[in-house]
Amino acid sequence: MKTLHPASVAVRSLSRSLNTGFLFFVVGIVASPGGNGTDLLSVFGLVAIGIVVGIVYEFAYYRRFRYELTGDTFDVTSGVLARRDRELPLGRIQNVDIRQNVVGRVLGIAAVHIETAGGGQTEVSLQYVAEAEAHRLRRQLRRGGSAPGAESADERARDADTEDEFEPTADEDVLFEIRPHELAILSVFTIDPGASLLGGIALSFASGLDPMALVPTDRFAWLPGPESGLFALAWGILLFLLAAWLISAALTFTRYYGFRLTRADDELYYERGLLQRYSGTIPLEKVQTLTISESIPFRWFGYAALSVETAGYAPGQSDSRGTESAIPLADADRVGELARAIEPFGPTDLESPPNRARERYAVRYLLVVAGLVGLAYALARYTSVVNRWYVLAAFAVVVPFAAHLKWSSRGYRIDDRYFLTRTGFWRRTTKVVPYYRVQAVIHSATIFQRRRRLASVTADTASSATLLGRAATAYDVDSDRGLEMQADIEERLQDRLRARQRQRTADRWVRDSSDTTDDDSAVENDDVQ
């Protein structure tokens, strides 16, 4: 049984006491006696109690926390008030991530997060262990996981112990390293949703919490009343966007600085981060879906991104953003090559939806324009905000182009071993789903789709990133063709499963007949899902 790194008490209680200290600070402010004047002494007393409680708790947490890597499970015993014993079968581990923030890098400690499929959150977090221990754990967890039952537990444990010090760099080949210009383009054009919030906060501090302080009122004092108000508003929005953009660029830059993706036999290993170091493994045998996305500014420069989804991260898990992405940005050709190295799918020339789909989009957009015009008319009729309501009808000119673009960016392909779908004009995403990963095939037709004999076919997988309909869906295919596709995907799924089953029996037979258990344990990737 091993314990966490002793320094984790200090780091954890620092962050914990910031929390509890703040909580008690608030409690102190609210509950302090004396009406309008708060009693500083009692507030600070409470804060001190909060900090002490935090430190004591963290010390107890450290004393209680034990983990152990056995032959085929990873056991964790933890909990101060409520105790918990957890056993993770190594074969079920999906991802192992290592995170290090600035403090951790100074102290040489790292957090290890272990993900399995199912469950709402990270299954095991070791906060924190020594850096070397973290990397040793990552290697051993994966090694144990990729060869279940091949060796006896004792053998493997012994094996693991003797190999502690060796970095297996020899068989790691670098698949991808981000180049400076790629990082620059990525930073400049990525819009980080968190950055707008940070930008707002930064701006409000810069202005001394008075938004009008940043507006150079004297510059356009010559403008008449309402215009100057509008101008001030536009100025404020411009400043805000600028701040958000700068922060977003800086965040993206530090996040993906030094991005490196390597492959060591059956798993991908990534490293990234300037201030905070992130690294982790993506086992190739657990890959559910590949997503190639080409957002609009990047597509113009011929760049694309690749993300690899496993079943490890729960949907909506806040910090999973980025961890699943295999390549943040690279040449579209390189991305295609790399994706094919992971899953050897064929060409990506796709079948387009029928022309009826394009008509459908045109009608849909026309309806939107009509709705807008109607709204403008209502506004013009009942208020005096809008005068020329009919101007909005000019948008109708754009409709055919928009409909065509939407139509032409959609497509699908029933490959030999993969189901490919593509959708999105602004953010064109191509999904590659191996048939043996399909969980269910859903053929759905809304009332509007049925009018035109269209349907959408979704191949659902156990991927984590299926929030907001991100599953692989072929939109608006011909209804009958959709039924065919559904049957086809299902049939190929059964075929692939049978093939893998045969493979497995053959493997087992080979293993049983010849007693060389050590050698074929490495080849037998197909065994675990």
């Binding site: 969980q439 269910a440 156990a462 299926t466 299902e490 499963l497």
Partner: protein
């Protein structure tokens, strides 16, 4: 293709009416409240009749959907997969291979217990949309179905369904 027990319409109609009553009560109540009190001085006279009309219209729609749903609902235990067809406005046809079934629940709400019906829920490791439930089964049929799904899932065996 197997159809549901016709009695399931009672359950659906009951639910539809209950929901319509709650929603209708809310909007009609709000309209009456607005006209009676002086929150909105110049409340138009049509407010209450309009609210009633909306409530009745929605209730009729719900009842229609509940009635129609029975006509659409079909399921079949095929060789390798479970096939389900459903949906009044959006017609959904789902194929769930037995290999992917994680576990099977059978469930009876109070309304279902009074009408002597049961629901079977089939879970997969996929996203929410691929968990399917088959309502409107007689308790014995639900038990049978659960049993045979369990057997089919074991039979198709294999990997750990992720």
């Amino acid at each position: 293709m197997e159809r549901l027990t016709p009695r399931v319409r009672v359950v659906w109609l009951g639910l539809a009416l209950a929901r319509a009553a709650i929603f209708g009560g809310l909007i009609v109540g709000a309209a009456v409240g607005l006209t009676r009190t002086d929150f909105w001085e110049s409340a138009p006279d049509v407010l209450v009749p309009a609210a009633v009309a909306i409530a009745v219209g929605l209730a009729l729609l719900r009842v229609f959907v509940a009635w129609r749903r029975y006509g659409v609902w079909r399921f079949e235990l095929r060789d390798d997969d479970l096939y389900i067809e459903r949906g009044v406005f959006t017609r959904v046809k789902t194929v769930v291979p037995y290999v992917r079934v994680q576990h099977v629940d059978s469930r009876r709400s109070p309304l279902e217990r009074t009408t002597g019906l049961a629901t079977v829920v089939i879970y997969t490791a996929g996203s929410r949309s691929s968990d399917v439930s088959i309502p409107g089964l007689t308790p014995t049929r639900a038990e049978d179905l659960q049993e045979s799904l369990r057997e089919l899932a074991i039979e198709s065996e294999g990997e750990d369904a992720v």
